[in-house]
C-alpha cells in the first residue's frame, strides 16, 4: 500500500516528467522558424503500481518517449520536387543571360545589323562609284560581322562560366554527401542505443533536400540501421557511411569542358555526364552541351581510322561539324560531314563501336544557338562571296574573283612549318583571326586538331602529332570546327581599299568601262529576300531562308526555351509551396498549439505542486503527533 513518502516520490517523479515536457515545448517553440524541423511530441504513460493488487495505486506519470511527427511520403515528394526546382531555377537564370546576349528589342541587335548590311548594298547600287558610300558599306559589314563574332563568343564565354560552375558545384555536392554519410552513422548509433534521433533525422532530411537541389538523385531508407542510401544516375553515391565522390575531368573531345564522374569504391570512376539531367548540375550540363537525345537510326558501317573514324548511319544523321556524338558511353566530336548519312569523327577507343549500335546526339541550348549562328554566317558568306566573285571591282589590279567576306580556306600569304616531333606548327604570321583551339588544320593531306595556339610565338600545338616534320613554306588549310560565326570577317583587302567592292557585272577598267553598273550590288542587296540561302541539313545546298527568317527562328527558340524554364520554375514553385505547406501542417510547429499545451501543463504542474504541498502538510501533522 502507498504511504505518504511514496506519494512525495510520486509527486517528485511526475514533476520531473512535466519539466521534460516543458523543455520539449520550449524546443518546439524555439524551432518554429527552423526549416525542415519536425515538431516533437512527448508520449506520457501512467506508471504502473509496483505490485499489481487491489490495494496498490499507480505511481504517477512517466515519459515514455519523444517522437517527431513526420510523413516520409511527403518528405520524399518534396525532395523529388527539389531536383526540378534546382534544375529550372538554374536553367531560368542561364537562359535569362543567353537572352540578354541577344537584345533585339532595342533595335540594335543582329537582325537590325543584318538589315543595315543589305541596305548598305542598296546604297552602293544607287551610287556605285561613290567612295564614302562604299566605305559605309564596309563599316556596316564590319559591324555585322563583329556582331556575329561577339554573339558567338559570348555564347562560348557563357559555356565557360557554366563549366567553371560545374567544377565548384562538385565540391559542394561532395561536402553534402560526406555530411549525410556522417549523419547516417550518428543516427544508426543513436537509434541503436535506443535514443530516437529526431533532430539528426531532420538535419539529414535537410541535407538530402540540399543535395537534390544540386543534382538529381534517387534515395531510399534502409530498414535495419535507419540510414539513407543515395544513387546518382543509377550509381551509388552514399551508402551508409561510405561516399563515392564526384569528380570532374576535362574532355578534350568537348572543347576541354568538364565531364562529370562518380567514383565506384576504388574502381575507375564512371562518367555520368550525359545521364545527369536534374538539379542545378543537370541544368548546367544541359545548357552547356545540349540535351542528350537518341540519334536517328543506328550505326550501319564503322570504319576505324587514325586520327579519324568514318561512321555511316542507317538514316540521315542531321549532324553538323563540331557536334558531339556519344556511342557506348564515349563522346567524340564530328570533324567532317562526308554525306547526309556519313561523318568523320575523332577516333573512338578500339572496340567501342560496333555496327548496329545506337548513338546519342545533343539537342538544343547553347551549342544549338552557336550552330544556328554558324549556319547563318556560312550561308551569308557563301552567297555574298559567290555573287561578289563574279563582279568587277573599281580597282585597276584585281578585276574579278574578289571575295567580300574572308573565306575559311584562304589564309593569304601565311605559310607553316612543322617541327621534328610533329606536334608544333609554326606560322609566318599571326593566324588568330583564322583559327582557334578546337579547329582542325591540314598540312600535306594530314588533318590534326589544334589544342593550343600562342599568338606571341605564332605556334600551334596539334594532337595527335603530324607523322613527321614539314619544311618552312608549306601551305595549309583549316576547317573552323568552331564555325563560320566565330571567324566571319570582311576581306582585309576590301577593308583597306573599298574600290575592291565589286558592284558591276561588266568590266570597269576596260570596255565598256561600266563603273556605274550596279547589277552585282543589286543582287547582293536582293539576297535579303532570297529563300533557301541557309543550309540547315548540311547537304551543301541551301534549304531555309530568308536570312532574317532563319535568325528569327533561332531567337524564337531561345525565347521559347527561356519562357518554358520560367514557366516551369513558377509551376514548380507553387507545387513546392503546396508540398511544404502540407508537410508543415503535419510536422510544423503551431505556436497556438504549443501555447495551449504550455497552459495545460502549467495547470497540471501547479496542481502537482499543490498535491506535494498537501502531502507535506499531512506529513507535518503526523510529525506533530510524535
Amino acid at each position: 500500500m502507498m504511504n505518504l513518502f511514496s506519494a512525495i516520490e510520486l509527486g517528485k517523479n511526475s514533476i520531473m516528467t512535466q519539466q521534460q515536457v516543458f523543455s520539449i515545448i520550449g524546443h518546439n517553440i524555439a524551432n518554429v522558424n527552423t526549416p525542415g524541423y519536425s515538431r516533437q511530441v512527448v508520449d506520457l504513460e501512467n506508471v504502473r503500481p509496483s505490485v499489481i493488487g487491489l490495494k496498490d495505486g499507480g505511481r504517477g506519470v512517466n515519459l515514455l518517449g519523444i517522437r517527431s511527427i513526420r510523413d516520409r511520403f511527403i518528405d520524399g515528394q518534396i525532395t523529388e520536387r527539389k531536383q526540378y526546382q534546382g534544375y529550372y531555377n538554374t536553367m531560368s537564370g542561364l537562359m535569362a543571360t543567353v537572352e540578354s546576349l541577344f537584345d533585339e528589342t532595342a533595335g540594335l541587335g543582329l537582325s537590325d545589323s543584318m538589315s543595315n548590311f543589305f541596305n548598305a548594298w542598296g546604297d552602293v547600287a544607287n551610287n556605285p562609284t561613290d567612295m564614302p558610300t562604299r566605305r559605309a558599306l564596309v563599316s556596316k559589314a564590319q559591324s555585322f560581322a563583329l556582331g556575329m563574332r561577339n554573339s558567338f563568343q559570348r555564347l562560348t564565354d557563357q559555356q565557360e562560366v557554366i563549366d567553371a560552375n560545374i567544377g565548384s558545384l562538385v565540391d559542394d555536392i561532395n561536402s553534402i554527401t560526406h555530411e549525410i554519410a556522417k549523419l547516417n552513422e550518428e543516427i544508426a548509433y543513436a537509434e541503436g542505443s535506443g535514443n530516437p534521433a529526431n533532430d539528426l533525422l531532420d538535419q539529414r532530411e535537410r541535407k538530402i533536400r540540399d543535395l537534390a537541389d544540386k543534382i538529381g538523385i534517387n534515395f531510399y531508407y534502409e530498414q535495419g540501421n535507419h540510414s539513407v542510401t543515395i544513387e546518382v544516375a543509377g550509381r551509388p553515391l552514399v551508402s551508409f557511411n561510405r561516399v563515392n565522390d564526384l569528380s570532374v575531368q576535362r574532355n578534350r573531345y568537348n572543347s576541354n569542358y568538364y565531364d562529370l564522374y562518380v567514383d565506384q569504391y576504388g574502381a575507375p570512376a564512371f562518367n555520368i555526364t550525359t545521364e545527369t539531367v536534374n538539379g542545378q548540375m543537370g541544368a548546367l550540363i544541359v545548357a552547356r552541351d545540349g540535351q542528350t537525345v537518341n540519334g536517328a537510326g543506328t550505326v550501319l558501317n564503322y570504319t576505324a581510322g587514325a586520327p579519324y573514324d568514318t561512321l555511316r548511319f542507317s538514316q540521315d544523321h542531321g549532324l553538323s561539324v563540331g557536334d558531339l556524338i556519344t556511342i557506348n558511353g564515349e563522346t567524340r566530336r564530328v570533324i567532317t560531314i562526308t554525306g547526309s548519312d556519313e561523318i568523320m569523327v575523332e577516333s573512338f577507343t578500339a572496340g567501342t563501336v560496333n555496327n548496329g549500335d545506337n548513338w546519342l546526339e545533343r539537342d538544343g541550348y547553347i551549342p544549338e544557338y552557336k550552330k544556328d549562328l554558324n549556319k547563318l554566317a556560312a550561308g551569308l558568306v557563301q552567297n555574298v562571296n559567290n555573287l561578289h566573285q563574279g563582279g568587277y571591282t573599281l580597282n585597276g589590279v584585281t578585276t574579278t574573283g574578289q571575295n567580300f567576306f574572308r573565306m575559311s580556306s584562304n589564309p593569304a600569304g601565311i605559310t607553316a612549318s612543322v617541327n621534328a616531333a610533329g606536334d608544333t606548327v609554326t606560322f609566318t604570321a599571326d593566324v588568330s583571326t583564322y583559327i582557334s583551339v578546337g579547329d582542325v588544320i591540314s598540312i600535306n593531306g594530314e588533318t590534326r586538331l589544334i589544342t593550343n595556339y600562342n599568338p606571341g610565338t605564332l605556334q600551334a600545338t596539334v594532337d595527335p602529332p603530324f607523322t613527321g616534320p614539314v619544311a618552312a613554306g608549306a601551305s595549309w588549310q583549316y576547317s573552323n570546327v568552331q564555325g563560320a560565326a566565330n571567324t566571319i570577317q570582311v576581306d582585309s583587302n576590301i577593308v583597306a581599299d573599298a574600290t575592291l567592292i565589286a558592284a558591276s557585272s561588266q568590266p570597269t577598267q576596260a570596255a565598256p568601262f561600266a563603273v556605274g553598273n550596279n547589277d552585282i550590288a543589286l543582287l547582293i542587296a536582293g539576297l535579303t529576300d532570297n529563300n533557301n540561302v541557309v543550309d540547315t541539313d548540311n547537304d551543301g545546298t541551301g534549304d531555309y531562308g530568308t536570312f532574317h527568317e532563319y535568325l528569327h527562328s533561332t531567337f524564337s527558340e531561345i525565347g521559347n526555351t527561356a519562357s518554358t524554364a520560367n514557366y516551369e520554375l513558377d509551376a514548380n514553385g507553387s507545387m513546392l509551396t503546396y508540398l511544404e505547406n502540407k508537410r508543415d501542417s503535419i510536422s510544423g510547429v503551431s505556436l497556438d498549439e504549443e501555447t495551449a499545451n504550455l497552459m495545460q501543463f502549467e495547470k497540471s504542474f501547479q496542481a502537482l505542486a499543490q498535491f506535494m504541498g498537501t502531502v507535506s502538510q499531512l506529513t507535518d501533522v503526523l510529525m506533530q503527533i510524535v
Binding site: V32, N33, M95, E99, E104, T105, G107, S111, D112, S115, F118, N119, G122, D123, A125, N126, N127, T129, D130, Q506, A511, P512, A514, V515, G516, N517, N518, D519, L522, A525, G526, T528, D529, E549, L551, H552, S553, F555, S556, E557, I558, G559, A562, S563, N566, G573, T577, E580, N581, D584, S585, I586, G588, V589, S590, L591, D592, A596, L598, M599
Partner: protein, 309 residues
C-alpha cells in the same frame, strides 16, 4: 484538404504570393514605362520573332524609299536636260525653216549655219550632263564623258567647214534601282538611245543641216526640216519613257508608304502596350500589392501567446 494551421505556412504563403504579386507589379511598371509589351525574347517568342521580321521589312522599305529618291535624282536631271534639248531643237527647226525660204541669201544661210552649229554644241553639252560627277547619258560608264567631238574638217569640194564628228564613248547599259521587293526600275537612258540612236544620230543630222545651209542647197534644207522633226520625236520619246518611269516610281512610293504604315500598325499592335490596359493593370497590381503587404503585417497579430498571463 483541411490543413492543420501552422504559422510557418502563413509566412510561406505570404512570401510566395508577395513574390508573385511583385513580379506582376514589376511587369506592369516595365510595360508602362517602356510602353512595350515585348521587352525580351521570352515575353512572347512567336510575336517577338514576327515583330523582328516586320522590323526588317520596314528597314527594307526605308531603303526602297531611298533608292526611289536617288532614282528621281537621275531621272529628273535627265528629263530637264532633254527638255532643254527640245527647246534648242525647236529653235533649230525655226532657223532651218528660215534657211529653206527663198527670201534669204547665202550670207544669211551661213549665219544660220553658224548659229545652228553653236546650238549643236549646246545639245552636246546637255548630252554630257552630270549629276554628282557622274555622266547621266553614258550608260553605266558613268565616269567616261559620253560624247566627244572631233575637229572640224575642211570640205575641199564645196569649200566649207564640216562640224566635227561626235562619237559616243559610253555603253548601252541600263542602271537599275530596286524600287520594291520585286520591281526594279531603270534610272538612266544611255546616250545611244536618245542622241546617237536608237533610230539615227542627232549630231550627224545637225551636221548635215549645217552643211546644206552652207551649200545653199534649199531642197536638201527643206528635207532637213522633216529630219529635225524626227529628232524632236526621238527626244520626246525618251522624255516620255522617263515620265513613265517617274510616274511608276511615284506610284510605287505611294504603295510602299501605305504598306509601311500597315506594317507599322501591325507591329505596334504586337509590341506596343495598350496604355489604358497597362495603367489599369498597374493600378490593380498596386492595390493587390498593398493588400498583400497589409495582410502580411497582420499575420500573428492574434496569437494565444498574447493572452498568456
Amino acid at each position: 484538404m483541411a490543413l492543420r494551421p501552422v504559422e510557418s505556412n502563413w509566412y510561406r504563403n505570404f512570401l510566395f504570393n508577395l513574390n508573385r504579386t511583385k513580379t506582376r507589379y514589376d511587369e506592369a511598371i516595365n510595360q508602362s514605362t517602356s510602353g512595350k509589351k515585348l521587352t525580351a525574347l521570352s515575353d512572347n517568342p512567336a510575336d517577338m520573332s514576327y515583330v523582328l521580321t516586320l522590323r526588317s521589312k520596314i528597314s527594307q522599305i526605308d531603303q526602297f524609299d531611298k533608292n526611289i529618291s536617288s532614282a528621281f535624282g537621275f531621272l529628273n536631271t535627265a528629263e530637264s536636260a532633254l527638255d532643254q534639248v527640245q527647246t534648242v531643237m525647236h529653235s533649230i527647226v525655226g532657223l532651218a525653216e528660215q534657211g529653206a525660204s527663198d527670201t534669204v541669201g547665202p550670207d544669211e544661210r551661213n549665219t544660220l549655219a553658224d548659229n545652228i552649229e553653236a546650238m549643236r554644241d549646246e545639245i552636246l553639252n546637255y548630252a554630257n550632263s552630270e549629276i554628282m560627277g557622274k555622266y547621266i547619258f553614258a550608260g553605266s560608264a558613268t565616269d567616261t564623258q559620253p560624247f566627244t567631238q572631233g575637229p572640224d574638217t575642211w570640205d575641199a569640194v564645196n569649200n566649207i567647214w564640216i562640224p566635227g564628228v561626235v562619237t559616243y564613248n559610253g555603253n548601252s547599259d541600263g542602271i537599275d534601282v530596286q524600287a520594291d521587293f520585286s520591281v526594279t526600275v531603270t534610272t538612266n537612258i544611255p546616250g545611244d538611245e536618245v542622241f546617237t540612236g536608237p533610230n539615227f544620230d542627232i549630231f550627224d543630222r545637225l551636221s548635215t543641216l549645217v552643211q546644206n545651209l552652207r551649200n545653199n542647197d534649199t531642197v536638201a534644207i527643206g528635207n532637213d526640216i522633216g529630219n529635225m522633226n524626227e529628232i524632236l520625236d526621238q527626244v520626246s520619246s525618251a522624255i516620255g519613257t522617263i515620265g513613265n518611269r517617274t510616274s511608276h516610281l511615284h506610284q510605287i512610293q505611294g504603295l510602299l508608304k501605305s504598306f509601311r504604315s500597315s506594317i507599322q500598325a501591325k507591329m505596334s499592335s504586337l509590341e506596343d502596350a495598350d496604355m489604358a490596359e497597362v495603367i489599369s493593370n498597374l493600378t490593380r497590381e498596386e492595390v493587390g500589392l498593398q493588400a498583400t503587404l497589409q495582410t502580411g503585417a497582420r499575420i500573428q497579430r492574434y496569437s494565444l501567446i498574447n493572452y498568456l498571463e
